[in-house]
Every structure is written in C-alpha cells, then in structure tokens.
C-alpha cells in the first residue's frame, strides 16, 4: 500500500507493507535511525516520536496509521545548527550515557515543556515514567529537563527585557534626551 505523511516538515510517500511498524518505516525506509527499537511491547520508550505533536511509541503504531499525519523525530528537534534547549540541557547535565534511550527521552521532554514550561521534579519524573534508561538513574535526566526549562524562561525574560528596553529607548528618543547614553 502507499502511505504519505509529513516527517520533520518534509512530505514523504512510500510503498509499504500494511503491517510495517512506524519505527521500522522511519529507520529502515527513511533512514532516520535516531529513533530506536528496544522492546516491541511499549515498555522501554526508545522509539518515542511525535504523532501530530503527541509523543507515541512508534513500535506499536503502524506506519499506515501515520498516513496523513505529522511525525517528528529526534532528527527534527534542532533548528539547523541550533540545538533545542532540551538537547543542550542533556549535554550540560550529563543526561545521557550510551545514548540509546536519549532520543525518546528528549522527545517526551520537549512535549512536556511545550505544555508545561516550568515542570516540577515530580512532573518530569511522571512524564518520562513510560521510558526506561539503564545508564543514568534518571536524576541527571530530570536535571537536564529542568536546565532546559530554566534556559527557556531566561531566554524569554531576555526577549521581554530587550523589547521593553527598546520601547523605553524609543520613548527616550522621542523625548530628545538619549544623546549621552553611549
């Protein structure tokens, strides 16, 4: 059968077997090997991707079911050379070791922060509780997600400040009093 879906903002159409799992479609057909295959029973979460913005376990979704939908994988997390704050947080806080669970963890973390920009430790632990990491013991993953939350809050504050100060500058300019600021 033929399936068409949008993966990381690119529309793809492929001829597939109806039984093909989304995880194998992404990995073997599209060559997007950042999404991993770990258990087949929806327990480990190394295969988590987004389907229309929702984290799903792609080992229990048929590729055909993703037809007509938006899929995002770890390869679509960074904006070009610019890492997503979640990726940066995992690096800063040693949120990964072998790296196998990391793509799935980061996709879940990004989805969490999109809904809840300031999650507590408990909320983070609950969000990633459907995924297993054998290396880190989770504490550094929790710190990584908090790092991203704080970084995004600070970035937002800086944007607000810049906007505010430029507005203030305009007012000052209007008042003809800004000459000595340099």
């Amino acid at each position: 059968m033929q399936v068409t879906m949008t993966v990381n903002d690119v529309e793809v159409t492929r001829e597939i077997e109806a039984r093909l799992l989304l995880v194998h479609f992404l990995r073997d057909v599209l060559g997007l090997t950042g999404t991993h295959w770990g258990c087949d029973t929806s327990n480990c979460g190394t295969c988590v991707v987004w389907l229309d913005g929702e984290p799903v376990k792609s080992c229990t979704v048929l590729a055909a079911m993703a037809g007509g939908h938006q899929v995002r994988t770890v390869e679509g997390l960074a904006k070009g050379a610019q890492l997503d704050p979640v990726q940066e947080g995992f690096m800063q806080c040693h949120g990964l070791q072998c790296g196998f669970c990391t793509p799935g963890m980061m996709m879940t973390a990004r989805a969490l922060l999109d809904r809840n920009p300031d999650p507590s430790e408990t909320e983070i632990r609950e969000a990633i509780s459907g995924q297993i990491c054998r290396c880190t013991g989770y504490a550094t993953i929790v710190r990584s997600v908090r790092w991203a939350a704080v970084a995004e809050a600070e970035a937002a504050a800086r944007v607000a400040e810049t906007t505010e100060s430029s507005e203030a500058g305009e007012i000052a300019d209007a008042g003809q009093t800004a000459g000595a600021v340099a």
């Binding site: 770990g38 770890v74 690096m91 070791q97 790296g99 297993i132 054998r134 550094t140």
Partner: protein, 796 residues
Amino acid sequence: MTTVHERADTFHDNDQKPVGYGRMLRKEDPRFLRGRGRYVDDVQLPGMLHLAILRAPVAHARIVSIDTSAAEASPGVRAVVTGAMLAQQGLAWMPTLSNDVQAVLATDKVRFQGQEVAFVVADDRYAARDALELIDVEYDALDPVIDARRALAPDAPLIRDDLEGKTNNHCFDWETGDEAATEAVFARADVVVSQDLVYPRVHPAPMETCGAVADFDAVDGKLRLWSTTQAPHAHRTLYAIVAGIPEHKIQVIAPDIGGGFGNKVPIYPGYVCAIVASIVTGKPVKWMEDRSENLISTGFARDYIMRGEIAATRDGRILGIRTNVLADHGAFNGTAAPVKYPAGFFGVFTGSYDIEAAYCRMTAVYTNKAPGGVAYACSFRITEAVYLVERIVDCLADELGMDPAELRLKNFIQPEQFPYTTKTGWVYDSGNYEPTMRLAMDMAGYAELRREQEEKRARGELMGIGIAFFTEAVGAGPRKNMDILGLGMADGCELRVHPTGKAVVRLSVQSQGQGHETTFAQIVAEEIGIPPADIEVLHGDTDNTPFGLGTYGSRSTPVSGAAAALVARKVRDKARIIASGMLEVSVADLEWEKGAFHVKGDPGTSVTIQDIAMRAHGAGDLPEGIEGGLEAQICYNPSNLTYPHGAYICVVDIDPGTAQVKVRRFIAVDDCGTRINPMIIEGQVHGGLTDGVGMALMEMIAFDEDGNCLGASLMDYLIPTSLEVPDWETGFTVTPSPHHPIGAKGVGESATVGSPPAIVNAVVDALKPFGVRHADMPLTPSRVWDAMRGQARPPI
C-alpha cells in the same frame, strides 16, 4: 592519604583547569543528541539480508526431526540453516569463555527454552520472521532440571550428554580460604550467626539488544563484523579459532553500543550465525534479536544460593566468615571471567573487615536454563560476595544488638594495614574506610534518622535504614594469573601527535556509554598538555586499535587508563629530548609545565608541545638517535587489581497496607582514587544505584517448573523507571591506588555491587517489628507482605 569531600563535585567546573582532570562535558554527546549515534542496527549495507533465529519452545527435549521445506519456499527467503547443516562444516558447537562448549544451533537436543535451533535469512526482517513460523520441528520432550538444588540428585535427568563420559549435572567445585583455620575460629567464637541467602537470577537487559552485521567478502577473504561486543579484540581471536578465518582477515567493529553491563561480553550463537549466513549467501547479513530473545537467551547474572556464616566475640569483633554456595550455571558454562577464576572474584567475600579466617566451598551445576552467570555490572561476582558479607554482618549486628554502623566501624581494615592481604589471598592496594563511612553517616544525618525511626516505630510506621560498606576488586588483571581463554588481560594503547600538535589516541577498550572519548582525552591531556578537544579517541575497531581485552569488570580506567597515561608519558619523554635540541640545553635542564618545556630558571625560554610536534615532523635536524614523528605504543600489564570502596546508606518507607517499599533516600559515598571526570563518575554511580533498586525490589528472571522463562519481556521483567528511584545523594573520598600510574581505580560497577545489600538491609530493618531477620530479593510487595506475616520464603 585520603581526602574527604562532603558533596560530589558535580557542578564544580574545570574552567580554571582547561587541560586534564575535572568536570568536562562529553565529546561524544553531540552525535547522540542529534540522533546521529551509529549503533549496530543502524548499519545498512547495499544488498543486506536479514537473519532471524528459531528458538526452542521447551527447556529440555530431543530433536526428532526438522522440516525446513515450507520455510525455504516462503517469499523472500534466501537460506534456512539447521544445526545438522552447521555440523557438516564443524560449526555446530563453539567454545564458551569458560572452556566449556555451547551449541551454535542445537543438533541433538535443546537444553533451555530459547536455545537456537535454526535460522532463516531473507530479504527483510519481516520475511525472515514469517519463515520461522513455517519451520516444523518435532521434539521428544525430556524432564527438565530447573531447581539447582535438585541438579545433583541421582535421578536427575542428564543435561550435558554431549560431553564424553558425563554422568551427572555437576559443572565444577571450587574452594578458597582455610577450612581448618576457619573451623577453629568458629569453634571458639562467642557468637555464630548463620543465614541462607539467595541472589536470584537477574538480567542486564541493556536498552539495545544484541546483534551483528556480518559482511564476508569472498574475493579478498575478509570478514567485517559490526557487533554489539564489549570485547572486540578477544572476539576477533575467538572467531579466528572457531570459524577458521585467518585473524588478519577479520575486522570486528563495536560501533556505538547501547549499554552493555556485561551482557555483551560473550560470543552468542547469533553472531556466529550471521557470519555463516554472510559466507553462505555472499551478502551482508544483519541479525538483531528482539527483547524477548535478549531476556531468555543471553548472558544472565547471579543465580547463587548461599549460606553465610559469621563468627564473632560477644563485644562485636568479627573472627571469621564461612560460606557454602550452590551456583546455577545454566545449560552451558558461559561465564565470562578469567579462566583461573571459575567463581569470578567471589573470593573477596571477606569484605572490608580485618578477620582471622575465612573459607568458601562452592558447587556449580548445570540446569535447563540459559547460560551466562557473570554480567550485570557484577565485577566478576563481587555483587554476590558483597551481598553475602554485608547481609550477614547485619544479621550479626541484629544478634548482638549492636548498631550496624558501629559494628562495621569496629571491624574495618585499618589504613596502616594496607596493602592488606585477605584471608582468601587478595591484596587490597589501598583504603581508608572510616572517613568514607563517617562522611556517609554525616550526609545521611544517621543519628537523626535513627531517632526518626524510633518515633515512627512507636506510631506503627515502617521505616528502615540500611547500610552497606563494600570493597571492590577491579581492573583485571595481571597477566600472570588472569586470562580469558589464554589471552592475557593486558591492554595496548597508541598515541600519535600530528605535526600541528593535535593528537589521536587509539584504545583497546571501547565504550558502551561510559564516555571513553572524553575521559581518555582528559587522561592524555593531563600528561602531555594538549587540550582534550584536540585529542581524538579511537576505539572499538580491531583494524584501527591495538590489542586488548575490552570493557567489562570496571577495567577500562584501571588497565587502559593506565596505558593511556603511560603512552602519553612515553611521548612526553621523546618530546623532552626534541625540546632540548630546540632550546640547545641538556635534557636535565628542562622543566615540564603542562603543555610546554622551559629552561630551568628561565620560564620565558620555552617550547610548547605543539612546537615540538611540528619539529618532530619537520625538515630540521633532530637530536642524535631520535627518529622523526611523535608517537608511541605500549601494552600495559597491571601489577595488581585496584580496590575502590564505598559506604552506602539507604532509607526506605514501607506502606503497611500494601507492603510497597519506597526508597526515600540513598546516600552513596564512593572512593575510586584519583577522579578524572567527576561528572562521568557520578553518572556511573547513579546508574549502578538504579540497578541496585531493580535487583533488590523488582528484577528477577524466574522459571516455572517446566523451565518456561517467566521474565521474557519488559512487562514481566521489571526495570526501575524514574518513579521508583530517588534523587541520589553522592559524596566521595579520595584514596589513590599506589600502583596505578595516575592513582585511579575503577568505578563503573561499584554502585551495582554496593547498593543491593544497603536496600535489603533497610527493608529488613523496617520489618524488625515483625521479627524479620532476613528476606530475599526481589522485595516485591507480595514478598514483603509474606515477610510481614512471618512467611518469608526464598524466591527459588
């Protein structure tokens, strides 16, 4: 000399110290963060075929017939291979790492559920799996041996009838220590405590399962094998021996590995099948097992049934420790340990205590279960040894009415006794236990916790405090007595400095997540002053790295870390001679400051390591007798193991209504000598502590009486998630190893070794009001519930 630190140095940056040791972000992370890691299953070669394995549905049965005709006719199938076909090529059996043999594909009978019976090679993985369903195997069922206690019964069915002259299921006997001396101290002791303990069968279950891509080029006779291996060089040699392919025509590549924990040390039948399939079909062939296959057929861990006995004076002086062990090795002895150590390093069961005598007698048996035994970050069975001693010391404390911390402090080997030879012959290199223990107690607020517990007990609440203190023996090992199938456990290392002063270091060990690309760059940087960012670390490819035994048993830093430091010093020695020519002074007049040599008393007259590298490759003359280039290679043979230690304190709360155990706090103070990258060390500790929670509370590979594996998926084999573990509290002390070039000791498995007894001790402590003195792992709610009702029972 020990230094004590109240809190792990995780967030202390090394900004002031950009070269060498300290917290440094990992060089390997960028590729993983972008989904650009390259694991075995990511390898895609043109024309690649897929292999799937048919496995035994029963634990013990004779194979009557195998009909593969329907499978061969299945769409997309290129080959179907059985054990009989392998036997024609002499490939049906292969050696294990313990000098036993194991069937690649069963020929005569199957000996455990999940054993390899046949394989299919097809165009894609779905077609291969389809064809498995069409293979018709007729079995003649045999009674299985599941309970190790019954394995040596006279009427027990014989499992290993493939071994000539074998008449029973005996695998080996082993003993250590002095039986008579131990008997004597037990005879005169005021107090003797005895306790039966089971360390159940568990599984490392790395997130990436095992697999391989084999690519045999018939024209030049070269085999390239990408595989999930923790020991690529040792595997290459064994493939040369098993498959008869000349060793120089085999390239084993361990690319990024998704966790190992010892699961990826052995050679599995699947790897051999992939090689055979590539030779047969003339195409690259991929085999990737699924999770169930990983859990039912690959290297398990533990499975020790132990009796621990401890003798002491009334005032709490430990005199002797004695143990009797029944070891379940499964259907084949696939233990991955140095061959002269059939019980691994279990001989360190005397722990951290200065005692008068010790003795262990062990019997190992075959059963109809998967082979393995040494895995899951166990440091070659030190998990079992530390569990034994730390549990019975707690039993003794209970018997004496002594605080378990006080009893341990009273019996520690004292700092001036190091190097300390234990009663079972292990030479502990260095240690200073009391400061480590005191730090853990301070961090925990031990006295306050005991007060809180007393108050809670008065209210009927169940709170427990558990302590474990461990000494590990890691970094195998001195080649005079440690080898794997005759391969000495020394490690090679090669360092090249390029003309522009950048470097490449080639390791014989490789990473399954431990961060070698960072740590080893830091080790070399510390020695030759080239920034870690300018040092490329190559590993995991036998064609491009020197020979060595691989990454397991926490041996990378103790063995290869030493090799990296020494090879860098060798390069620095050569650089000094070249610098003396450049500065026109004698070698003795030069002083090394990190990254440069300067003339003594004249720091302004200096040459950097980068200047020297260019001169070494340049056109000008070099000092007499010095060859061009700036590189060196060594093979490091450790003089001893390293002996890290640690003090762990666990606080649990148990819900009296559901018997659910919650680990509220866990304090871990580790001493692994010199610390190279504290961030990575803390990560290793966190991971091991989580394993400990798994083993103590959740994980067990159980079997029913017919030998059906009851832990065959992650729905049945429970691994801790983020909700079962607390935020770890870590601290450290530093007692350098006196014989290691940089004073470092291994740390990768310390927490897996030390945490299970701390957790079990805490649970038993919580259950004291019920008169519980011991309860075996895994302490699931139902098992804790039974213990609360005086019905604690062993899990097997």
